[in-house]
């Protein structure tokens, strides 16, 4: 009887494993250059889309990216609408209570402030905009004297600075630098980098240990042969932090 049960269990696990060969990856599609909609073709593109494709190839998985609102990106992973999250999601202890993460695929990233002028106030009494449910929003909320202004999309956090609603926006530096560069001086990066979180990783269900092992293996292989660094440099420039 025990043997029979064991055999069934193995069969079940094997069944899950083979079907997992086709998986879905959830992403936000509004966070340049991590993941965004290509303006000309309407397809999802960006650092994480290319990285995800490469990781899946190495792990022998067929992956498909699906778009999901940032707000509900974790609940939809939990309810099985997709099997992994690659959406610039930093590894934090708070998120680890709910989901699990693969090894990080970017080094702990720098967050930074962007404001309308270089002498903008970010200390006592400053209003800082950040995206809801991000590591940056959590950081601002903890700063005494700062007022946190939350928005559902990254784009709105920048718009809040432009129209004077917020003194500065606090987000991933890699996201803000191209925007500041484009603004023709209207928006400037403040020289106040903060290192937050444990880098960006793939968010996974806690029960998917096998999938985690596959992704971890693929990420380690890409770190070892330098291809991950090459990809980071391609999307974030030569000055970006690498492994």
């Amino acid at each position: 009887m025990k043997k029979l049960l064991l055999a069934t269990a193995f069969a079940a696990i094997a069944g899950v494993a083979s079907a997992q060969d086709a998986i879905k990856i959830g992403t936000e599609g509004a966070y340049e250059p991590y993941n965004y909609i290509d303006q000309a073709t309407g397809k999802l593109v960006g650092f994480e889309i290319e990285l995800g494709g490469e990781l899946c190839k190495r792990a022998n998985l067929t992956c498909e990216f699906v778009q999901n609102d940032w707000d509900s990106i974790i609940p939809n992973l939990q309810s099985g609408n997709y099997d992994a999250i690659m959406a610039g999601m930093s590894i934090t202890d708070e998120r680890k209570k709910v989901i699990t993460f693969s090894d990080n695929y970017t080094p702990p990233s720098k967050s930074s402030y962007m404001a309308a002028s270089a002498d903008a106030n970010t200390g006592e009494g400053a209003v800082i905009s950040a995206q809801t449910g991000t590591i940056q929003a959590g950081y601002i909320a903890e700063q005494a004297g700062n007022t946190l202004l939350e928005f559902a999309t990254p784009d709105e956090t920048v718009a809040a600075v432009k129209n004077g609603e917020a003194d500065a926006v606090f987000a991933d530096k890699d996201y803000l630098v191209p925007i500041a560069g484009d603004s023709g001086g209207a928006l400037v990066m403040l020289d106040k980098d903060v290192a937050l979180g444990g880098g960006i990783g793939i968010g996974l269900r806690q029960s998917d240990t096998e999938l985690k092992a596959k992704f971890d293996g693929a990420i380690q292989a890409m770190k070892a042969d330098g291809s991950l660094n090459a990809l980071i440099e391609k999307y974030f420039g030569p000055e970006s932090e690498k492994f």
Partner: protein, 296 residues
Amino acid sequence: MFEYCSDPRSLEGLQWLSCYLTTATHFSFYWSFLTVLTLLAVTAPLALAFGFAGASAARSHVLPVSWLGRAYIAAVRGIPDIVFFLFFVIALDQGIEWFRHLFVCEDLSQPVWNNGEFRVCPAAKVPANDASPFMVSAYSFTLAVTTFAIVFGAFAANVLYGAMTAVPRAQLETAEAYGMSHRQVFRRVLVPQMWIYALPGLSNLWLILIKATPLLFLLGIKDAVYWARELGSAKTSGNNPYPHGDWRLFYFLALLVFYLVSTRVSEILLARLTRRLSRGQATRAGEDMRKGGAAT
């Protein structure tokens, strides 16, 4: 789209604009209006059917049926829309998968809901993991239509219930005097006469339904509002062929025009329908029409 669009950076003025407005993302934006209209066209009759069933059930002489109808109306009307759209769709989706799980999965020893995670075997997934993108969107569209129909059906049920009680008792009594059964009175007299009483309430619902379509994005469907936000958001020059600042205002103005036109067209059609339905009715408008017709 056009040949000269291959290098957008070299373009200026109208030429740039013509290329910009014909990108694949813009066509998705234009198509999304059709999605909204399709949703309306499918949902409205379905919601009306739900409403009719709900109202008929609430009026039923059989107590359990009447309770069921009343419970449906009261429960759905009492729940905030946004809660309904967030919670109900996930519940419906999980319910379908759980139901399939019981039948198609071999290993039922693992709990389906565990530690905040919802797990069914891959065979029970709806839509299946390898389903075509079309099937995936068809499925979410169906979920959306069902949810909209249930929500708006409850409101429609209440409107129709009121309309059914508004039909003058004398009309029904006359029918009964002719020897018609309950069912015949309902079908031949009550239902044809109630529409004129229901129309103001139903037209309200229709206009609210038009405006509620942006809730679609909560259900994972990229509707016109999603695309307006996506296309209007600022685009940096590094990775985008058509960089621009924050243009959401223009896109939302376009949406405003679309919604205003839809409501105006609806109002015109509804006014016509009201005139058509008033004919021969025992109402003030119907009476006026009768007299006006007799005078000419």
